[in-house]
Symmetry: C2
Subunit: 507 residues, 2 copies
Amino acid sequence: MDHEKNLSRLNRLTKEISLLTHTFSVLGWDQETYMPENAAAERSEQSSLISRLIHQRASSSEMEQVLSDLGCSESTPDGDKSLPDHSRRLLRRAYKSYKDAVKLPEELVSELAEHSSISQINWAKAKNRNDFSLFRPYLEKMIDLLIRKSEILGYESHRYDALLDQFEPWTRTTEIKSVFNRLQPELTGLLNKISGCKQVDDSILHRKWDIKRQKELSHFILKEMNFDFTMGRIDESEHPFTATLGGSDIRLTTRYDKHYFNMGLYGTMHEGGHGLYEQGIPGQMRGTALGECASLAIHESQSRLWENMIGRSMEFFTAYYGKIAEIFPEPAGGYSAEEMFKAVNMVKPSLIRVEADEVTYGLHIILRFRLELQLLEGSVAVKDLPEAWNELSRELLGIVPDCDAAGVLQDVHWSFGGVGYFPTYTLGNLYSAQFLNSMNKDLDVSKQISSGKLLPVLNWLRENIHGRGALYSGPELCRLVTGEDLNPDYFMNYLNDKYDRIYNFNR
Amino acid sequence: MDHEKNLSRLNRLTKEISLLTHTFSVLGWDQETYMPENAAAERSEQSSLISRLIHQRASSSEMEQVLSDLGCSESTPDGDKSLPDHSRRLLRRAYKSYKDAVKLPEELVSELAEHSSISQINWAKAKNRNDFSLFRPYLEKMIDLLIRKSEILGYESHRYDALLDQFEPWTRTTEIKSVFNRLQPELTGLLNKISGCKQVDDSILHRKWDIKRQKELSHFILKEMNFDFTMGRIDESEHPFTATLGGSDIRLTTRYDKHYFNMGLYGTMHEGGHGLYEQGIPGQMRGTALGECASLAIHESQSRLWENMIGRSMEFFTAYYGKIAEIFPEPAGGYSAEEMFKAVNMVKPSLIRVEADEVTYGLHIILRFRLELQLLEGSVAVKDLPEAWNELSRELLGIVPDCDAAGVLQDVHWSFGGVGYFPTYTLGNLYSAQFLNSMNKDLDVSKQISSGKLLPVLNWLRENIHGRGALYSGPELCRLVTGEDLNPDYFMNYLNDKYDRIYNFNR
């Protein structure tokens, strides 16, 4: 059969792209972990060469030919109707990648890559010196480049669609808007309710947590999570991340703070959740258009599920507080599992997104999403961004940063051109709660966790999510796994139950 | 001027090759240091893709065109006679690389790369199980491939020329033969002389040397050697190596043995010597055909100079024994600088090349060189190699391995196809002594070292060797720096003086 031969041809092309993509990740991982400081300029040349090679292959005439031979076109983006469902899903992904790549001129791809690298360096400088003006020209140029990119990629109703689609394929700005519009008053309501309660004591988190022992705990927990160290490892970096250097080579990083317990363990569990997803993508899918995650939001649902729904649950402390106290007899001494559970879940509006609790986190994202829309629409200029940020912060969180380093300059994303990325964080939170709800129909999750049995949870995720690679879009996967569309109620129910337990709303 | 434009065109092509070569090194460095075990198969696919891309570029029609536009041909391999000397030297290198690349069919390059990776794995298995038969078929295939390679590359008088030329450009087998024929009786004579003397006491080396403190010492010594940690680092790996991940990114590795002092420090100083050479190649040469070492033998001359002529000198212990005793009050206690100097220089025939002293080391190399010649000539078959090894070992070293793991299976080189590599080790030793002799005319090396001033030594090497990149071949550089051709007498004089001091020949 001709189609079979053409599918093999396609897979040979995507395999080479995948090898180059993983090579790109090796360069990136090394850059963030072990690379000596003066190697940055050359590394950026190496990375941009590899990304140019990827783009050339993704937009090549061979790729066009094989996709066309398989029946892919504007009207049938998933190929010939006679093909089996699995192949059509693969073709849909492959055709989408090809279309996106071929639309973007190599010159714009290079310019974006180079500006991204320069812009990140200047963002870091601006943040360090707490001086937005140092970053402003770079962000202005970045927004211009992104507007050009969105115009070239095309969109239905909003420029933002084109950018969002790169991270969250087939999800639209209006859908995010409507979800966020539903979510925001609920989060604000819950935050107000909590603010009326007696605050929990989180002093335990700020005692002295020996870093060598924190590393031991991180390894222990990753092993409990069944992260496979024969095909992965954990290191340290300034900003935690997960990178796929190969289907059997998943690298996590975390960071440790001697005086803040949450940083190390929850960084580890968060990235561990990402890592388990990557390790769960079937080997036979790797190298094909299906051998990757469904979307960034689905990815984030996995990290958040392990970090928050498992790692910050009372059940987790029931199972593991003994181990924590054994590794850290000093700082954990005199505290109970319940007290520590409450401490790690303290809700309090704060300036820094990555340190935000589960309630205010979503508000941080909504702030960024609104500003991104305005930047692309041109209704806010980059020069007015700090002021716009501060106003929105007052509106949504009730607090205003006293400096731009703790405000508009806090996140790296805009500096590398990641406009459209932030919403996936909140979508991930929402998906995770909805998945957890479905998981609970198949197994007693609380019972498993509180007895320290995390494998059944992982197996459920593997079967329902990881093992499906990129067969489905985020929304499709959600319907398939949970039987309904994304519904923020699951997340709000989860938050309300959890914080009622912690803050005793009816007392 | 047209030539200038063409030289820029050429440099753009070599720059891309250089970026890919460095990317290849990132993959390799990671593989030997931090890569999880199950990632090996994919890593080898990534590496072989990158090496294919390098080969394509090195043998491309653009490359052919620009070299021909610059006047390169069989009769004028260094290009148009009107070009300045510097450019003609660059063209000579570039044309040589092109000719070598274009001669080798991509299919053979791939086959060699793949077989090299499989063969290394089976070599390691065979060595672990001490069973040569497990490696034999892979080595047989490797020798066949290398014979094919040498026939394709072409040679004047001996197949070996073609392989040697890959590591030691423009050096011929007959030259090595004649140098080794001169060297061997001298080494044997010196070894016999030493065997008649009272043996030194090396028990200090086998006391307990805390590994964390060994690392501290390694860092200290590298700093003393003026290794630049802003453009390099040191890690650990099973076999020490130096890798160039970028002109400003030189990575060393070493390994530590708690019960053998020499392993850590001298591994570090050896690789440190390689690293200083790489760090000393001028930035403006990088990315061009001149932005690399002159040859592997010249590289080895740098590592050996720092490891042996500096690190194993009495002057070194005069300067640094205090520091060693400060870091290691326990194992160094009760010993003098002089005693430690003698211990690290103990001469004794042993089975393992990498642990050999400076006298017997050359005999190990001569053994391998002879066998390589016979393998390529077909006068010894792979199946008879263990026996041939053992016989030569008896003849040259007076001892016979009791197992193949400590004999024919000890080195990785043949498994990756590195036939022609071994002689560069001994050439390196010879060059280093000849360079040291010249250095002594410009500065009082002993005085500098014994007062812990290593920068003048480095500066001399930078000016005379490192800063010249690949402008000269090994023999040319030798003549330029020392005023004469390679002359083994310098090395023998160095050895005779050193060991007379240690063993007191006339007593």
